[in-house]
């Protein structure tokens, strides 16, 4: 029996822990005060509108295992290879030892403040997809003065596929999330108009394309191909947008009550820090696996494994599958 440390108690960390705990002792570290914070912030999950809380509760039940010890409020800040083990140090200076380590430190959302032209944090009425998700969860979507918005506009690819912010990659989940959120807005506020500005809609997963079609046909969501170049507050506290409709080939000026920035996924601080400490930092500060095809859970460091979105943007479904793959890889290594 080995002792395995898993850093990060999101869906990747919990799923890996659950599989490994059948045969080994698991130490699961979480820097927040509870596991699954990112999922807990969501209301419903694409593409089938599963309750995020229901998924989180099911995963929490998986943690009720005698071989899993969970340490919350424990931010692992350093990771070093000793002769036959790994030494972990947390922010308070406590040290832990394990035979194997799994990095499941996940992602963090792109800081929309960096896109100054879009006015997040400057003007009221401009929020992120995470902010909207919280509103949906609380059952009340409001504009900057607390009223139900008459129009909600979504902007895709904020901090993704964007040379200005330095993130050239696609975050994968924003397209379908906007479609899901636009449907939820229309369900909650039937008199509200929804617009989605996109570069191209990447409906790559099962059920995504159907959801996109439903959004248009059943919920009347307006999809506009183009980018918003500038957002500003109007005198009556609405949001003025300047954009280009690239299908029409025309500039566009419009006002909306709520602008939702679909923020992309970046390497989390923990991923960045620990990937660099262990010498496995890859592009954009995500952790680098040995090979994306056959050895995607292995790293160049013996005994250090990867699971989930610490490698690249992933959906929750893909994260859970990747976590199981990571657990099987570790079991094969130990055997």
């Amino acid at each position: 029996m080995s002792k395995i440390a898993i850093i990060g108690a999101g869906p990747a960390g919990i799923e890996t822990a659950t599989v490994l705990a059948r045969q080994h002792d698991v130490l699961l570290f979480e820097k927040e005060n509870a596991p699954l914070c990112n999922i807990r912030n969501k209301a419903l999950l694409f593409p089938d509108f599963t309750s995020a809380d229901e998924l989180a509760n099911n995963m929490m039940r998986q943690l009720e295992h005698p071989r899993i010890t969970t340490y919350c409020d424990t931010d692992i800040t350093d990771l070093r290879k000793a002769q036959n083990s790994w030494q972990l140090t947390d922010a308070k200076g406590n040290q832990y030892e394990a035979d194997y380590v799994v990095l499941s430190t996940g992602y963090q959302i792109f800081d929309a403040h960096k896109k100054e032209e879009l006015g997040y944090g400057i003007y009221p009425g401009i929020i992120t997809s995470i902010d909207l998700e919280k509103m949906i969860k609380e059952g009340k979507i409001t504009n900057s003065i607390g009223d139900a918005p008459k129009s909600v506009t979504f902007l895709q690819c904020v901090g993704s596929r964007d040379e200005k912010s330095g993130n050239h990659y696609c975050s994968k989940v924003c397209c379908v999330t906007a479609v899901k959120q636009a449907i939820e807005v229309r369900k909650m506020l039937p008199n509200t108009t929804a617009y989605v500005f996109y570069m191209d809609l990447r409906m790559w997963g099962q059920g995504f394309e159907e959801m996109y079609r439903t959004a248009q046909e059943q919920y009347g969501v307006n999809f506009v191909r183009g980018r918003i170049s500038e957002a500003a507050a109007t005198y009556d506290q609405r949001v003025q947008l300047k954009a280009e409709d690239t299908l029409m080939g025309l500039p566009l000026n419009m006002t909306t009550d709520l602008l939702v920035l679909m923020v992309g996924m970046c390497a989390s601080e923990g991923t960045d820090r620990l990937a660099h400490a262990a010498g496995i930092a890859g592009k954009y500060n995500f952790a680098q696996s040995v090979s994306e095809h056959l050895k995607d859970n292995l790293t160049e460091q013996e005994g250090l494994f990867l699971a989930g979105s610490c490698k690249r943007p992933m959906s929750i479904q893909d994260t859970i599958q990747d976590a199981r793959a990571a657990a099987i890889t570790i079991l094969e290594q130990i055997a």
């Binding site: 100054e116 944090g121 400057i122 500003a232 507050a233 109007t234 005198y235 009556d236 506290q237």
Partner: protein, 399 residues
């Protein structure tokens, strides 16, 4: 000179603009806002710019020993501004700034309209740098924002492609036999005033405060496109929310007005006005800004670009003639100042020496609000002591 009326271009524009005006009128109904709702907001947050985080970025600005390059057009548009800048630096701040009599155009307007080829502009810039080198200066200060954009662009191109720098040296040497060093620092005069805003505040006689209400004056700041939109790193506070004028306004007691079209072009865009038939675009852009700022009731506009200040000032007359529309309650228009004029007024410079009487929108209402002393009888007094011929009056805009 008839300063109160644009005698030619404004009238010639009317026919070309009729179509544009009709389009705006059609749109007006769509854009109408709920007045009762707006009033209930009671000026919720005029100073949205209080949430600044973008001013974390501050460019390097030299503190002393400047080589000044004058603008082609500013001395015509705002004849007192460049002199005021030199006086402020020399007399109020005790700094060294050299004003060469051998300078010439930077080619900016010609360059941006494809009239002047790149190699020519590069050589012209090289010659101006050679004047600076010859006098032993290293800190270059171009008066005009377009010149500032030209110089930063050439420096950027030379850094990225050293072969172009060698070509510029060769062309300059062949043409004039001169050589040059690259400046160690390049700053726009508004950068320098900004960097000394607190020191200047200590010397100021007035503040940007309405003496009748005791409230800060509401100021619209407009930044020239070529200041930071080409190279954000060369602007104080970056490109989207440059802090260079906002910093002065706040330091001197005023309140910055943010409005939806704050970042929109003033209408000076070279291709919009160089061809007379296109000038409708120029007025349309300025009009879009005025319509957007009007509900905030600004006390005045300040700009750091010669074209911006000129067009935002003069087009108010044109729009008034075309539409019988002014953008203040009293019908006088919104005064437009350069940043040197703003600083000079607060330091106690005579408004008529600053050249404010040569503006289209007259500034007495603003002077009265601040409490600035001036002699109305000397408004049109020339340097020889004689009163100049009085200007004609516009039919709509009050003066």
């Amino acid at each position: 000179m008839v300063p109160h009326i644009i005698t030619t271009s404004g009238i010639l524009l009317i026919s070309s603009l009729l179509k544009t005006v009709c389009i705006f009128r059609e749109k007006k109904g769509v854009k109408t806002i709920n007045i009762s709702y707006v009033c209930s907001l009671s000026f919720l947050k005029l100073q949205i710019m209080g949430k600044r985080y973008w001013n974390d970025y501050q460019k390097a600005i030299a503190k002393d020993h400047f080589f000044y390059e004058r603008s082609c057009i500013r001395q015509t548009f705002f004849p007192g501004s460049e002199a005021a800048f030199l006086n402020i630096l020399r007399n109020d701040l005790g700094l060294d700034i050299y004003d060469s009599s051998h300078q010439h155009t930077c080619t900016g307007i010609g360059y941006h309209t494809d009239v002047v080829p790149f190699e020519t502009t590069m050589t012209i810039v090289a010659r101006l740098f050679s004047l600076m080198t010859e006098k032993g200066y290293e800190n270059y200060v171009p008066s005009c924002v377009t010149s500032f954009g030209i110089f930063t662009e050439m420096l950027e191109k030379w850094e990225e492609n050293p072969a172009l720098l060698e070509q510029a040296r060769e062309l300059l040497h062949k043409a004039t036999g001169r050589t040059f060093k690259l400046p160690k620092n390049i700053a726009h005069p508004s950068d320098i005033i900004f960097s000394y805003r607190n020191e200047l505040k200590e010397k100021m006689k007035y503040q940007l405060v309405n003496r009748f209400t005791g409230k800060p004056l509401r100021v619209v700041e407009h930044i020239g496109c070529h200041y930071a939109k080409i190279f954000p790193k060369h602007g104080v506070g970056n490109a989207e929310f440059p802090y260079v004028l906002a910093g002065m306004i706040e330091a001197w007691g005023g309140e910055v007005v943010d409005y939806p079209e704050r970042r929109h072009c003033c209408g000076f865009g070279f291709r919009q006005y160089l061809v007379q038939e296109n000038r409708g675009y120029s007025v349309a852009n300025s009009r879009k800004k005025f319509e957007s700022m009007e509900p905030y009731e600004p006390d005045f506009i300040v700009a750091n670009c010669p074209g911006c200040a000129m067009f935002l000032d003069k087009w108010q007359y044109t729009i008034a003639e075309m539409e019988h529309k002014t953008y203040d309650k009293e019908g006088y228009g919104i005064p437009v100042l350069t940043y040197e004029e703003m600083a000079g007024l607060l330091l106690g410079y005579d408004p008529w020496v600053l050249g404010l009487q040569l503006h289209q929108v007259q500034c007495e209402s603003l002077l009265n609000k601040i409490g600035i002393q001036y002699n109305p009888n000397e408004k049109y007094k020339g340097y020889d002591g004689k009163i100049l011929p009085l200007p004609g009056k516009p039919s709509v805009l009050k003066v």
